[in-house]
Symmetry: C2
Subunit: 500 residues, 2 copies
Amino acid sequence: MTMSDKFGPYQKLLKRAHQIALVSTACETLNWDLETSMPSKALDFRAEQLAHFGGMKHRSFTAKSTGEWISACEQHGFETDSLEAANVREWRRLYGRATKIPPSLVEKFERTRAHARAAWREARKKSEFKIFRPYFEKLVDLNRRRADSWGFAETPYDALLAEFEPGARTAQVKTLFAELRTELVPLLTAASERSAAIPKDILQGNYPIATQQRLNHKIAEAIGFDFQAGRIDTTTHPFCTTLGPFDNRLTTRYNEQDFTQSLYGILHEVGHGLYEQGLPAEHFGTPLGTAASLGLHESQSRLWENHVGRDPAFWDRWHPVACDHFPELKRLTPPQLAAAVNRVSPSFIRVEADQVTYDLHIIVRFEIEVRLIQGELAVRDVPGFWNEEFEKMLGLKVTDDSQGCLQDIHWSLGDMGYFPTYTLGNLNAAQLMHQAKLDDPNLNKDLAAGKYDSLLKWLRDKVHRHGLRYLPQDLIQQTTGKPTGVANHVDYLRQKFAAV
Amino acid sequence: MTMSDKFGPYQKLLKRAHQIALVSTACETLNWDLETSMPSKALDFRAEQLAHFGGMKHRSFTAKSTGEWISACEQHGFETDSLEAANVREWRRLYGRATKIPPSLVEKFERTRAHARAAWREARKKSEFKIFRPYFEKLVDLNRRRADSWGFAETPYDALLAEFEPGARTAQVKTLFAELRTELVPLLTAASERSAAIPKDILQGNYPIATQQRLNHKIAEAIGFDFQAGRIDTTTHPFCTTLGPFDNRLTTRYNEQDFTQSLYGILHEVGHGLYEQGLPAEHFGTPLGTAASLGLHESQSRLWENHVGRDPAFWDRWHPVACDHFPELKRLTPPQLAAAVNRVSPSFIRVEADQVTYDLHIIVRFEIEVRLIQGELAVRDVPGFWNEEFEKMLGLKVTDDSQGCLQDIHWSLGDMGYFPTYTLGNLNAAQLMHQAKLDDPNLNKDLAAGKYDSLLKWLRDKVHRHGLRYLPQDLIQQTTGKPTGVANHVDYLRQKFAAV
């Protein structure tokens, strides 16, 4: 059976998915505009508009007919590994999740999120956890109820994880993270010692934003980002969003004293963007045209940001170009530049963390989330737990919750099960990169020469073009011959940061 | 009867209008993004999205229930001059226009426009009228059929005019334009002679775009544009659009050799923007929250651009500020700057025309449109007619249709009845400004001092806050004591450009 199979209910699902995509990309456009351009007084109307279209999408997807068409497709008997079967599998999963939650719970969750976000902002500003606490308690409770509605195999946190990482299980993640923690803590000591020789302010200079933009554009283009199907703008919180099959928008922020902040921000977002630009446009709006999971998405951003962009070879290639843009960089050699962007040092803030400490930041969040959802930790004890675990892993004493458990927006959005995908992304990135180098013996040479298309082609072939045809773990297994594990990531870090 | 009258069908109309506004402002956002930001490959999907939402809006407004609710409101007996009665009057008119045209005609018109636009671009590029001619013929024919469907009092062109200028009649416009032409032609000779002393390149210099933007922002803000409820961006074709009750977007283009092009572009668009920002937000999406007509809209842009911005007092006020931004301007005195932006000289292109010749450009278009629709002129004879009339009025021989009848996009969009609103705008601007000065004897002094709020307050009170409560001609009559006429405009031009 192929796409030419014109089975009626399947065609109807395709049409509905397409219409929902027209509406949801309009929402993405309204959101993108909200973040990049919208004047402040326009917020209320915009929020109402987004709620209006959100309701429209939800009603359309959860209509009884959607469920009937999915059932008809399931009985139709598409071949197991056909494109159609993959779409039907994912529609069933998504339809189940969307219809199993009672509308009253959805509404309560949305309302609580809105209030929680405002409370969190104030709490972080004043560094007073108790301002956020009652909202956080409600959100934990609502997330437990969501998990109960969705159902789960082993533990309610599984149901939350599945929102971001289809098929993932809490127990597996726990095992991976425990292994990783055991490896990272001693590695951190060694790496920090080596980094101590690199002055913290070695990159400090005067880098005009317009020049940074020119350099970033050049590098993003060299890596393969298609500017006829995407663009880069400025926002306080960088993000990547897709407004249509040929319309991917990235954002970054600029620091006039340190050009690498925006450059690595762009390399990261370009990684996301290349995945989106590599999804099959003909399947846009269906699972086949959608990224497989956040953990795979993050693998792409981390791969380009770290495995390509923070490799010493990257600066051998780009040092002269960077010097053309910023003559003051001539004071540094390429290896010095590479060392500067690979400085390892424990710090409080996750988004500023180096490659060695980053996952430790994630692990503390994951451990808290699982305990909260399983009822093994009370919300009021989160700051204490955070600070204790943080000190154990990173050796730093948190004295200020705004530098600790209040730093991220995610919990105030009600997102639980999201954080672990960041570390899954790191693990997948290392594993994919390891495999790419095995598959293509010339890869290192190509990358050193600034030829990025062989790597991109490999990723397109192994990851991008499949969309959600395979569950993320199946895709990793078939591409790398093993499930997501810590070995390649730890080897990579050890070799890079602690090799003698 | 007041807004607290909770008459059911009226409330239902308000709700429907609000929902349509949520969709149509989303379309405006998608269009704004298309013009300012969208990457080129995204066009097809965006066009489909716009068509999808356009259909959604149309189906919602033309639903049978809309008509039933309007009828119920008409029978309910809202007081003649109540707010409700004004909304019901306009809804009836719009519902009539939207439902009287058969869907097949709408579709044909849309399809022809799409093709005509591409043909026109090619025709203009090659300056070959015959490439555009078959499409123009179809559009004229389709416009006649639209007029027949809508119905009209005297002549089919009335029905087309009504799309942009509710209540206007072809006969009145004809009379006004004939009077105006009689006055302008001799005035042009005198004004051109006076302008001959001003070197054409007197403003030529080097004006960095970022500095132009800073100056424009300062002046737009001084005039009263609220940047918390609006913003300015860059496009090839400047426009003004409204994305919500507190979200007005202006665009302009920049010429690095002449800063006045973007400045007067902004003053013009800010005039539109102030009207939009002055509409009552609580009526957004209903006729009461909508500008009365294009002719009134253009009166606001022309008033700020010309009556304020091209007044010599404007440069007495802003010359020092402009010199802070562009030190090379110190070579000119304020009167020299004012003279430079008021140089009168016949030229081929409407959008570059000075205040004296501008209306002559419009008159030739109007005379052609009326003749085309009345069947008194064949499309194939348009270039000949254009060139002949143009030479009679402006003394210039058109040798190239791309500088003549192919220069504007409007006909390729199928818009006929649109052009005359530009000149109605000029007439209304002069008439409103004349009245404002009668009503407020301090106005000239305030404007000279750079205090623009008394003029803005007057316009808010007399024009903006009413939305479409009154038909444009009724609003002009009650504000200025007379219908739109040529006297104030001609007096103003004569005094400015031909006084001894």
